[in-house]
Amino acid sequence: MTQVERQGWDVVVVGAGGAGLRAAIEAREQGMRTAVICKSLFGKAHTVMAEGGIAASMGNVNEGDNWKVHFRDTMRGGKFLNHWRMAELHAREAPDRVWELETWGALFDRTPDGRISQRNFGGHEYPRLAHVGDRTGLELIRTLQQKIVSLQQEDEREFGAYDARLKVFQECTVTRILKEHSLKQDGRVAGAFCYERESGRFFVLEAPAVVLATGGIGKSFKVTSNSWEYTGDGHALALLAGAPLVNMEFVQFHPTGMVWPPSVKGILVTESVRGDGGVLRNSDGKRFMFDYVPDVFKEKYAQSEDEGDRWYEDPDNNRRPPELLPRDEVARAINAEVKAGRGSPHGGVFLDVSTRMPAEVIRRRLPSMHHQFKELADVDITAEAMEVGPTCHYVMGGVDVDPDTAAAAGVPGLFAAGEVAGGMHGSNRLGGNSLSDLLVFGRRAGLYAAEYAAALVSGERPAVDPREMEAAEAEALRPFSAEGTDPLHPGGPAENPYTLHQELQQAMNDLVGIIRRQPEMEQALDKLADLRVRARRAGVEGHRQYNPGWHLSIDLRNMLLVSECVARAALERKESRGGHTRDDHPEMDRRWRRVNLLCRLATNESRTGLPEDPALAHIRLERREMPAIRADLLELFERDELAKYLTDEELSS
């Protein structure tokens, strides 16, 4: 084995999006030497794509808002599957996290009296989202990036080196969390095995605490609003390190993504289009959403187009139009219309504002949408309708963490925050709660990782096991000598990783997508097994220097693991709730609310932690009962409402 460079740090943060950077800032401010490692350039993380805002009950626009209302909205949005403690911490701490950004230089849009302006959003009772136009995510990432630079400038003055206590390893990938294996202790985190994308050089960051902040899994689906980085790396790293994932069956499909041209298929069309008056029509020109109002919502939504139209001007005396039903309802309706043959030419439906508002108003209220369609699709939304369809947007599931400390269950030294962590959003996330989640739990993860690392006396730090490093290196290099290396399934041809990726995306999209059925999911699991076998033969040409084919081959392992989690958990949960819709079990079932599904690796026998035979199941499921919600929090709800979610037995106790 070649000599792999090793560096010692106190805390390693994997991922440089909102959660990762917030964690790194916290760990460094606690005095820990902190390394951040990210796949893209510093400042390019997927957080920049967030448009709407950061949900925080500051009450700047409506004084009635407070953390309790925010907590209530969040629990309703997640259909009570949220971990109550996470939802509580999130709602309580979000305002402080937003205000703190201002002290680092963030410039939010203002209210007339000079405070941070807040906007309305789906599911939030009051105007709550701190925002900067429709580029809030960019503001967030840039502010955190610049705060990191400012800490580095401090270190430069003190130690003469910018990187002395806080370093960003950009364009590097972590392939394995390394753990100690000694007689005395076993299983604590010892570091991370990484490679530099530019050179292909391997290196190890030794640290007792690792924070996962890698975001989501959207790249396993064909139509997604997510970037290439979203290959479920952190989810897979946690699994491989022995930590379970929770709620993986819940994947949010946003109802309106672009469907044309192919190059931008999946890119988000913001909810504000409908909020401002946009309507959905099928190829017959019919506003079909009126046919899809479920019974439970019949009272709250307009029955006629006239009434719906009046709501925009007079919301007190009219009911809102059904285009503004929850995301899952709208996504399902669009799906049904397309399947019935009433879709648009490119397989979506029409979202029209052009006949609803004067061109000048559209340009003023929806500048980025106007720009996006003009530049990318050559469509002038002031003159014609947009074509839209559902797009994979967010995964509610993730690493099972302690709500207070963000520590991953069962692996000392491993922490997770942001989209990669599960529990906070339950079965469905509200718009705006993602950015606040990043900040609240990013800070907590950084804080408790730092405390954990600081508590270890230097001599007692876990040591990296050289055999694990060797295994990690061999695993990463396999794509260069792929053909015929699998003794269990010999003889197959070398596989193109791009082809495998496309087949995976297609399968997940078609078989474990927005509407799920048992036979299709079973078929998906077969397909995944087949892909795992073929992925062992995924080979690449060229050398290790900036070789995207090789990078994809490595990421495929993660996507396959995560996809299997989604498929197995979705097959198991026999109800429909939030981001999990079963055609064969269309109702929400109160008994299922008490159940969390945990995904774990199926075996821990081999050196790699994965079964030797790729055709075997890699994931096994466990059921766990949800913890009871604290009484004072339950009192925030009407009993009638609770009765929809909690079983009679839970209610009576």
């Binding site: 203002r110 190059s263 050559d378 220097q545 995207p548 084919g549």
Partner: protein, 257 residues
């Protein structure tokens, strides 16, 4: 509209050398240059190195030069080219090349570190900040920057003169200085830092000859020259070349002293 085969020339190589390679590749309706590069990766050149991320013009990763013009590959639609036209794609030519279309942009990160950060006002706690919309508007425009570094790439001060890289921060980071100087609550002055003079003395504002290429290439349509660089030059002129202001300051200093 149907598919067609386009002729592409893509630069391939590394720091040791390289050349434009010819490819014939399928193009479908509505595609952008980045789609074609991805198709090349998937079908003809699996190890073709390219940096990209959001594919929606929001992250600023896929900067390159297309037919000699600095642009984002994800925001350059194929329909702007003639079907018979050869499309030439090269890496940004102001930065050291790493491989194929990927360049070493560390110059920009080094320059970012040289700009002193926002200084929070000492007397305000978090949550106490009050700023009017009209006071934050100017800096907000500059904060639309997605750091694609196309302005840094096209700026002839460093593109054509490597030796100027040390003294010159480039449009992106001069704009950052302007952003902080216009921030209504930045308290740098209280700490003895004058961003206006620093712009000229430490960040090389004088090198800029306002030929506006930065503004021309900006995919976010930020008016870098008119709204950041020229105002910054005028602010520096206030400090250094305006005898009236100098006189006024001297008199005030005498009085208070």
């Amino acid at each position: 509209m149907s598919s067609y085969d386009a002729h592409f020339r893509v630069w391939r190589g590394d720091a040791a050398g390289g050349a434009l390679g010819d490819f014939t590749v399928e193009v479908n309706e509505g595609e952008v240059v980045l789609d074609i590069i991805h198709r090349l990766q998937a079908t003809q050149a699996p190890d073709l190195a390219v940096r990209w991320n959001c594919k929606a013009g929001k992250c600023g990763s896929c900067s390159a030069e297309i037919n000699g013009r600095p642009r984002l590959m994800c925001m350059t639609r194929m329909s702007v080219f003639d079907r018979a036209e050869t499309v030439t794609v090269t890496p940004m030519r102001a930065f050291p090349v790493v491989r194929d279309l990927v360049t070493d942009v560390s110059f920009n990160y080094a320059k970012a570190r040289e700009v002193p950060s926002f200084v929070p006002p000492a007397d305000l706690k978090p949550g106490e900040y009050r700023m009017r919309q009209e006071d934050v508007g100017r800096s907000q425009e500059f904060r639309k920057c997605i750091e694609c570094f196309l302005c840094q790439d096209t700026c002839h001060v460093v593109r054509d003169h490597e030796e100027n890289k040390e003294a010159f921060a480039g449009p992106r980071f001069l704009m950052r200085v302007a952003e902080l100087d216009m921030h209504p609550l930045d308290a740098a002055a209280d700490e003895g830092l004058d961003r206006k003079t620093a712009a000229q003395d430490a960040h090389g504002l004088g090198y800029c000859n306002i030929t506006k290429c930065c503004t021309e290439v900006c995919p976010e349509h930020i008016r870098i020259t008119d709204n950041a660089l020229i105002p910054l030059k005028e602010r520096a002129a206030d400090r250094k070349y305006d005898p009236l202001i100098w006189l006024g300051k001297t008199i005030r200093r005498r009085r208070s002293g």
